[in-house]
């Protein structure tokens, strides 16, 4: 024991200071990792190539969606240039344009709302994270209030849109979206009043948003732009039934 104390006393003060500093640093790093909460659970080297792969796939998806929107625009232009544009053809063009607007395949603009849905403060646990269900609830309430078009972080919501949880983030239309989430909607001028009058929306705010510490803010805007849906409209299993209408 005396030998150990003697050797300790013999150490230069700088080495003791360095050892103490490193000890404190180690403790602080461990405490920081422990306090970062459920969004940062793993940090292993195998994640790096997966993150790179995911980023590469997201970039590919962006490029494919841009290509689809571009192709649809060019196809629309080509159809409009058809040299044999008789009355029947013009009607067909109009019907096509109308169907594309109704299907959400064309970008639209109009008066509406923009919601921002954010995680709660750290320390709130899993309840303080925005989930796919929260985003879906907001989207559903907006539809019920009379919204004509909705987008989540720039992803247009259509009849085939699914919103899923991936860890603490979401997938919408197969696109990876990370918080905060911006939900934009076009609708009647009283869209927000209708929403606030909804018992289910009030229950969502009072029973989920407020107790969990989530942040929900809204702005009423004179002009909201919604992008076109850039996903697939191919049908592999469904076949259109010939119309019996005259």
């Amino acid at each position: 024991m005396n030998t150990f104390v003697g050797r300790l006393r013999g150490l230069p003060s700088v080495q003791v200071t360095l050892a103490g500093a490193l000890l404190v640093l180690g403790f602080l790093i461990a405490a920081q990792i422990a306090a970062e909460g459920p969004r940062n659970r793993y940090s292993t080297e195998e994640r790096s190539p997966l993150i790179e792969t995911a980023l590469g796939l997201q970039a590919q998806q962006e490029a494919l969606k841009s290509e689809i929107v571009g192709l649809r625009t060019r196809i629309g232009d080509l159809e409009a240039q058809d040299p044999g544009a008789a009355d029947s053809l013009r009607r067909l063009y109009r019907d096509l344009e109308d169907a594309r607007v109704r299907a959400g395949l064309i970008a639209v603009t109009g008066r509406g709302l923009a919601f921002r849905l954010e995680d709660g403060t750290q320390g709130g646990g899993l309840d303080a994270l925005v989930t796919a269900r929260d985003v879906r609830t907001l989207v559903e309430e907006l539809w019920l209030a009379g919204a004509e078009g909705i987008a989540v972080n720039g992803e247009r919501m259509v009849g085939t849109s699914a919103i899923l949880d991936i860890g603490g983030s979401i997938l919408a239309n197969s696109a990876y979206l990370s918080p905060p989430y911006t939900v934009t909607a076009i609708g009647p001028s009283d869209l927000y009043d209708r929403l606030r009058a909804s018992v289910a929306f009030v229950a969502f705010v009072q029973g989920r948003i407020e107790p969990s510490g989530l942040h929900l803010s809204v702005a009423e805007l004179d002009s909201v732009d919604l992008p076109a849906f850039a996903g697939t409209v191919n049908l592999r299993y469904a076949t259109p039934v010939a119309s019996t209408a005259p």
Partner: protein, 226 residues
């Protein structure tokens, strides 16, 4: 002025400098991939599988649209009309959007018992995720804007009341739809755990027809940005 720095002090300075560089590098690296750096290995794998499947569908769409564009360009260059191409495109878009009736194979989910609209929406969300191309609830086509809402015993869809027994029908791959819904821990298991009084059964259907929506999906407040 003389600098009398010992080896130890130089070591401390070098270590601190290196540590600083590493910390800044790590912070910048994490800032560059918002959200992704917070996912676990399992979640990242799940994400990659989902995005890969989505990208495959998008590639198919690009191939179809490119073919369509080429046909239209060819027809225009020859001075021909493209009625057939336009009519096929119109039929496909209208069917996809729910504006016309569609037929095909798929599944039927019978719902018996008290369940909230949120529970049915969970099932519809999973059907969409599994690739359902058309869905109807109690015969009412589910299109953009149609939501099953209400508390147990008071459900409604598109302003029509739903009883405690009704059917959800979806067109798509019966195997994929059934497998996705009924897997262990899947949406059927989750919903029945949340609503223990409800009974759900999933049955493959060889052929069904889902009616077109009655709703007018034309915008009155939104203007196309052509």
């Amino acid at each position: 002025m003389k600098l009398k720095l010992g080896t130890n002090r130089l070591t401390v300075t070098a270590v601190a400098g290196l540590l600083g560089i590493l910390v800044v590098g790590q912070l910048r690296g994490q800032a560059g991939v918002p959200g992704l750096s917070n996912l676990t290995v399992t979640e990242l794998t799940q994400l990659i599988a989902n995005v890969t499947a989505g990208n495959d569908q998008l590639r198919d769409e690009v191939v179809d649209l490119t073919r369509q564009e080429a046909k239209l360009t060819e027809a225009r260059d020859r001075g021909e009309t493209t009625v057939g191409e336009l009519a096929a495109d119109l039929a496909r878009i209208r069917a996809w959007a729910g504006l016309t009736a569609v037929s095909g194979q798929g599944i039927a989910i019978t719902v018996n018992g008290a369940i909230a609209g949120a529970g049915i929406e969970e099932i519809l969300n999973e059907l969409r995720n599994a690739g359902a191309e058309a869905i109807a609830v109690d015969g009412i086509r589910v299109v953009a804007g149609v939501v099953v809402a209400g508390e147990p015993g008071g459900l409604s869809v598109a302003n029509s009341a739903l009883g405690d027994a009704f059917e959800i029908r979806a067109i798509g791959s019966p195997q994929i739809l059934t497998g996705t819904l009924t897997r262990t821990g899947g949406v059927i298991a989750q919903v029945t755990a949340t609503y223990p009084d409800v009974r759900l059964s999933v049955t493959p259907v060889d052929a069904m027809t889902l009616a077109a929506t009655d709703l007018d999906l034309g915008p009155t407040n939104a203007s196309p940005r052509l």
